[in-house]
Symmetry: C2
């Protein structure tokens, strides 16, 4: 397996995982403190999906930190297969959650103009952070898939 930035057990890999964790945690915090988010299925789904991402990224960040401290590279094909599946599922769920929430925010903000009355700032911030988190986990996902395929 080739060695390039973002592979598990490297500093860039650890940096990617911590960034994903921070953005996902930020998205949850912003959504959970917004008024009336429980009335919307999509916003609850965003919290669930970002919650899954927080657990996944934190777990992998610890694994990366452990590998770095022991100076090991995590290149076992079974382990990489697990990372590929996990990253792909988490990335797909994150994008789905971010987009379904973004659909509602755009509906309320642009199409119906409710945001002037209700205030959607926290929903918008949460959706933005969820998109950032997705972007980073998508990068990780593509790196893992490449690692697995390139053998």
């Amino acid at each position: 397996m080739k060695d390039f930035p973002g592979t598990p057990g490297t500093f860039t890999g650890l940096f990617l995982r911590i960034s994903q964790f921070l953005f996902a945690a930020g998205a949850i915090a912003s959504m959970a403190t917004a008024d009336g988010f429980t009335n919307y299925t999509a916003f609850c789904y965003l919290i669930a999906s970002m919650g899954l991402q927080v657990i996944w990224c934190l777990g992998l960040a610890f694994l990366d930190a452990y590998a770095l401290s022991k100076k090991k590279l995590l290149r076992n094909p079974i382990l990489v297969s697990l990372f590929v599946v996990g990253d792909w599922v988490t990335a797909t769920l994150s994008l789905a959650a971010a987009c379904s929430s973004a659909g509602i925010v755009v509906l309320y903000d642009r199409d119906l103009g409710y945001c002037k009355l209700l205030g959607c700032r926290k929903f918008q911030i949460s959706v933005f952070l969820a998109f950032m988190s997705w972007l980073l986990i998508e990068i990780s996902s593509l790196i893992m898939f490449w690692l697995l395929a390139a053998g």
Copy 2:
């Protein structure tokens, strides 16, 4: 490059492209015949995204059919790179469009109960077809990426 189902220039590849085209065209038809879809940004975006997918899949279906008729396998790395980027972009846009529209349909159907008054059947069918189309192009996308990475 290894030979497995779904690679460009094979019958399964052609079948995948035609299925993606049909589902995307069905999603457009169902959305375009629904009343008042132009009032919703997400629904207009669904049509635009599925329109892009229709053009992309139809082009690749013709290319696959041509390769099959000439008994050629399309394995040029530059061509496969182009397929990877195109499939990845189309798949991501399709999922984003399907999810943002699904967010609004779920909001109207489950959260607000407007669907009993307005009728959302065509929106629901369109979103379902868009998801099916995304699922198939995601499969193509993963196959292409694997082909490129495995060299």
